[in-house]
């Protein structure tokens, strides 16, 4: 009975929180935070800004395609369009594990997808943590900020830098 109480209390808390979302006034976008989603590559945590992507997909079939670049994984059909899929892990200097499940859609003219395996969830990064950096490692080459996730410190990936590199 005593063990059931915390569960009941949590359910009650969830319900109240949901109900409060409708009861309380709407909270609009905070200008001090950047909406991002976090991902994990090996032991490192990264984030990608919503503003730099067009969408997020998961579970799409990637059709392999022979191409010169090792980061290129193939093509995927997304919402009636064909996207070129690149391995975010390879682009950031990690070993591609060939089991990417998530696709971060980006690109202005042509649709590109950056594949990664582990999606952690939504994270709001204060704008003060955003910066430009050109530090030594490849992982940090494309970092445009830092953030805290759980007890770790992660880097915010600059998608535009990555896309510029792909074009070269």
């Amino acid at each position: 009975m005593t063990q059931e109480n915390p569960r009941i209390q949590k359910v009650q808390a969830l319900k109240e929180e949901f109900d409060a979302a409708f009861a309380l006034p709407m909270k609009f976008e905070r200008e001090t935070e950047e909406k991002c989603f976090a991902l994990q590559i090996d032991e490192d945590v990264f984030a990608i800004r919503f503003s730099q992507i067009r969408g997020l997909e998961s579970g799409r079939k990637i059709t392999s395609f022979p191409y010169g670049k090792s980061e290129f994984l193939g093509l995927a059909g997304i919402n009636g369009k064909v996207a070129s899929v690149y391995s975010l892990e390879s682009l950031l200097g990690y070993k591609d594990k060939k089991n990417a499940r998530w696709l971060a859609l980006c690109g202005n003219k042509e649709l590109l997808a950056l594949a990664f395996d582990k999606f952690l969830g939504y994270v709001a990064v204060p704008r003060s943590d955003l910066f430009q950096t050109n530090q030594g490692t490849k992982q940090r080459e494309y970092a445009s900020g830092v953030f805290h996730y759980a007890s770790k410190i992660g880097f915010i990936v600059d998608i535009e830098s990555l896309l510029a590199r792909l074009k070269t």
Partner: protein, 488 residues
């Protein structure tokens, strides 16, 4: 093939030959002597008889003449009767002489005498008749002188000659008889000599054969008696050792008897214990059977638990699957909210309210994700617990199976133990009986060993006597050897 004669056969043959020879010799001597005696007797008897008859005839001739003269003188019938009697006697004599005459001379002479006598008798009868008829004395006497007396003289001459010849025959016969006796003596002598030689020959041969055989036998006897003495010595010493061994064995048997009695008592004790053990084993068997039933019940319960736990595992797996769906939904919701936020951000001011909704949806999705994470953790814990329980239950089931199997084996073993205990109890009883019998047998053996020891002692005494006898035998054989062979 040379026939090997035995000593008895040789002796028998030799003595047989000697007996035969003696028999022959005796027979020859007997018949020879009998012949001699017969001849002599015959000669003596015949000649004597012949001479007697001759003398009788001579006498009868004189008697007849005398009777007739007397008759002439006296004319008495008595003298006639005397004449008749004389005539009869003469006839008898002639008959006798005819019977014993065996030579032609004798027969011829007897015939001649008989003839003369008959003539004389006839003349006498004629004169007698004539005298009766009236002839005178002087006529008859004259006639008698010229006829009867002449015939009587002739008769006497013939009879004298005959007697002389008979005497000569007697001497001749005596000489012949003597010759025959001498011949017989020589024959007997020669046969005796021959027999002597033959006997000597046989004696020599027999002696040689006896010496050879007896000597050989004596040597064998000597060697055998020596060996026998040696064997008797060994036997005596062996018998002594046997007596000693018998005494030791007798002692050992007595100790064995005491031990077997102790064993019999122990066997009896063991038998009682075995019976108690069998009773306990039977009780234990019942308990084992009940325990086996309990084990079977536990196994069934464990199997039931495993089945339920497996169902629980399946259900938790199903819950996990549902949770995956929920998680997937939450994730997709999150994606939608993210995408909605991104799209709303691109919509500018028009999308701000939508961004709020998208945020709320995202928060909801996060809450769902968090809850699903908790639920997953819980389900994982449940599944882990279920797996652990299943594993434990499986382990327990296997343990129960193993235990049941082992218990079955224990049951089988226990059943075997019960059987073995039963067998052991029976064996213990048999051992008890056997040890009792053994004890009895050992007592009998002990008694028998005592008897054997006694017999061994008697045997030792007998061996000593045997040894003594053999020593005497050896001495006798040496003496016999000295008898047979002078240099032995």
């Amino acid at each position: 093939m040379e026939r090997n004669w035995t000593l008895g056969q040789k002796l028998g043959f030799s003595f047989g030959i000697m007996v035969v020879f003696i028999g022959v010799l005796s027979t020859v001597a007997f018949f020879t002597l009998r012949q001699v005696i017969a001849d002599k007797d015959r000669v003596i008897a015949m000649n004597a008889q012949m001479r007697i008859e001759t003398e009788l005839l001579a006498g009868k001739s004189d008697e007849i003449v005398s009777h007739f003269q007397t008759y002439l003188i006296k004319k008495d019938a008595q003298y006639e009767e005397g004449l008749d009697a004389s005539y009869n006697d003469v006839k008898k004599s002639f008959a006798t002489m005819d019977a014993i005459a065996d030579s032609d001379y004798e027969k011829t002479t007897i015939t001649k005498v008989k003839d003369v006598f008959l003539k004389m008798v006839e003349a006498v009868r004629n004169l007698q008749l004539s005298y009766k008829n009236g002839a005178t004395f002087e006529q008859v006497s004259a006639k008698m002188k010229e006829d009867i007396i002449v015939k009587a003289d002739v008769l006497d001459s013939v009879l004298g000659e005959f007697a002389k010849r008979e005497q000569e025959n007697l001497i001749t016969a005596k000489a012949a008889s003597t010759d025959v006796a001498n011949t017989a003596n020589w024959i007997v002598f020669l046969v005796g000599i021959f027999g002597f030689v033959l006997a000597g020959f046989f004696a020599f041969g027999l002696t040689r054969a006896l010496n050879k055989q007896i000597g050989s036998a004596v040597q064998h006897i000597q060697s055998s008696s020596t060996e026998l003495q040696s064997a008797a010595n060994q036997q005596t010493s062996g018998t002594r050792e046997q007596v000693t061994s018998m005494n030791e064995i007798s002692t050992t048997i007595k100790e064995l008897l005491a031990t077997s009695r102790q064993i019999a008592e122990s066997a009896q004790h063991v038998s009682h214990i075995a019976e108690d053990t069998a009773s306990s084993a039977r009780n234990g068997d019942l308990i084992v059977q009940r325990t086996q039933e309990s084990m079977q019940t536990i196994k069934r319960q464990v199997d039931l638990i495993v089945t339920h736990m497996l169902d629980l595992g399946k259900k938790s797996q199903q819950a996990g699957g549902i949770l995956e769906i929920i998680n997937e939904l939450a994730e997709q919701t999150n994606i939608l909210s993210i995408n909605a936020t991104i799209e709303a951000a691109g919509a500018g001011e028009m999308g701000k309210r939508f961004v709020v909704v998208a945020d709320e949806i995202r928060k909801l999705a996060d809450r769902v994700a968090g809850s699903t994470k908790d639920i997953r953790t819980l389900i994982d814990d449940i599944r882990s617990a279920v797996n652990t329980t299943i594993m434990a239950t499986e382990g327990g089931s296997k343990a129960v199976d193993a235990g049941a199997k082992q218990f079955s084996e224990v049951t089988v073993s226990f059943t075997q133990i019960v059987e073995l205990v039963k067998t052991t109890t029976e064996a213990a009883r048999e051992i008890e009986l056997s040890t009792k019998q053994q004890s009895t047998s050992v007592e009998q053996v002990s008694s028998a060993m005592t008897t054997i020891a006694q017999t061994a002692k008697e045997s030792e005494t007998s061996s000593n006597q045997t040894l003594q006898t053999v020593s005497e035998l050896t001495s006798l054989s040496k003496a016999l050897a000295r008898l047979v062979q002078a240099q032995a």
